[in-house]
Amino acid sequence: MKLNEEERALLAGEGGRARQWAIRHQIEVGRFFDAEDMVEVDQAHVMADPESLGEAGVRWLSDIAGLPEAERRVRVPTITDPRGVDFAAYKRLQQTDAMAGLEERAIHAFEAMGVLMTNTCINYQTILPPVRGEHVAFGDTGVVIYSNAVFGARSNFEGGPSAIAAGLTGRTPRYGYHLEKNRLGTRLFELRHQPKDFSEWGALGAVVGRGSGSYWAVPVITGVENAPTSDDLKHFGAALASFGSVAMFHMIGVTPEAPTLADAFDGPPPPASPITAEDIANVYKGYAARGDKVDVVVFSAPQLSLIELEKVANLLDGRHVHRETTLIAATSPEIKFAADRMGLTRRIEDSGGIVLSGVCFYQSYAREMAEANGWSRLMSNSAKLVNIIGGYGYKPTLATMERCVDSAVAGKVL
């Protein structure tokens, strides 16, 4: 890789030990992907929940945090993905003091590094959206795909260590979606059914993700009749990234880099794969469990916008969650403050729900929570969540937000 003078100085240790580790790590990853050089980034976003970190990861962070201030502080604004423990609610969820202790140590280390604890996977809705052409180092698949596709920003999936490296050096290896040539379409999908709600947008993401199947694929979606909302695209992108590990898409007439089909491809477009109502229905069928007792209903993954929280509150008004079912809605700290101020939290909690701040369900020791609370059947309107959570021992069911709330009240899958 070609390194400039500043990068060579970092490699020689002139920026301190943390930055020396960071640039070495970036060179190793960059070489693996044949990056020719580095590109400067304006922001980094770090996924580092305590379950993923474990004791080893928290020790690693604490080692950096223990360095002199000039060595440990990040050089570009660096923010965080959801945490694993909401200190105001962890005992209600049967999370342990040991989990909270590990979380506390991780937060302490991040703060010492100058990381801003935004604790959100919807930073593009709540903190500082990137703009077209801006290079960033974002570390949540839903954040990356939304930023690349909807804003036209440039990011690869940056796992926690690499996002920290980018924060420390202010750059990242130039490969993947930092390069124009990799942002062109590789597959074409034609919608013959218009998604009607968040869970259908997620189901569409599942279909396209399964049909794309690789980080290096760029699906192009045509046939969208009406502009989707930010929350629609949030669920679509999160599911597409989850089912297919996809980091970029074009939606003709919606996303900025492909206003027409001709813009989306280098040459003639490939034959289109149709997506029908039956394809969407089959996603739901794969998770169907009508009549089963439902243990936990989760609205999370991605965290809810204020608009989504209001919908949950509206659906719960005048009703109460079944005594053997838990209903959880997770959002970012900023949206939680707004929801508190506007009375949405009170309305949801008066109906027996729990509103969590700064966490996401699957990043919160999901297996241990299931064991401690006796949870098995989980219902959600998030296609991403039902895709992930089976590996944690849950039996997931995908349904609309309305059916999820109705089922939470009934205590069984409706």
Partner: protein
């Protein structure tokens, strides 16, 4: 007695071990019980298989970014695969392998590596050379 497969130069040290092969994808968060060291996702083709110190030969990487930390965490407890041999990985597995110093290779010249390597056979992975050696093949 050995055959050599050529791939893109990878990450991590040379390693020798027994291949655990499936035509399926991988995510440490989605697919593994990292405490017990087994594949825990019922839909995965390696469901129930013990992955400890086996060389995972799989197709692709799926899902989220957690694997970047989780490989390091698994390595710290010695509940880890010996190496990763994939058709194509995403940045997350490469970043995680780099942090954990676990061997990783991908992009094979001769096609689908999950068909080129047999489940249970002994192989040597040489990331710096971009080679996987099938030790028991004539």
């Amino acid at each position: 007695m050995a055959q050599t497969l050529i791939c893109h130069p990878g990450i991590g040290p040379d390693v020798e071990g027994i291949a655990l092969v499936a035509s399926d994808d991988f995510s440490a968060r989605y697919d593994l019980d990292r405490i017990k060291g087994v594949f825990s996702r019922p839909a995965h083709k390696l469901f129930g298989e013990d992955y400890r110190e086996r060389i995972l030969v799989l197709n692709n990487v799926k899902g989220g970014v957690a694997s970047a930390w989780m490989l390091n965490e698994m390595a710290s407890r010695n509940v880890k695969p010996a190496a990763f041999v994939f058709n194509r990985v995403n940045p997350i597995l490469a970043q995680g392998a780099a942090l954990a110093a676990l061997p990783l290779v991908d992009r094979f010249a001769d096609g689908d590596v999950t068909k080129l390597i047999r489940n249970g056979e002994r192989i040597r992975v040489r990331p710096s050379e971009g080679q996987v050696i099938l030790l028991d093949r004539p």
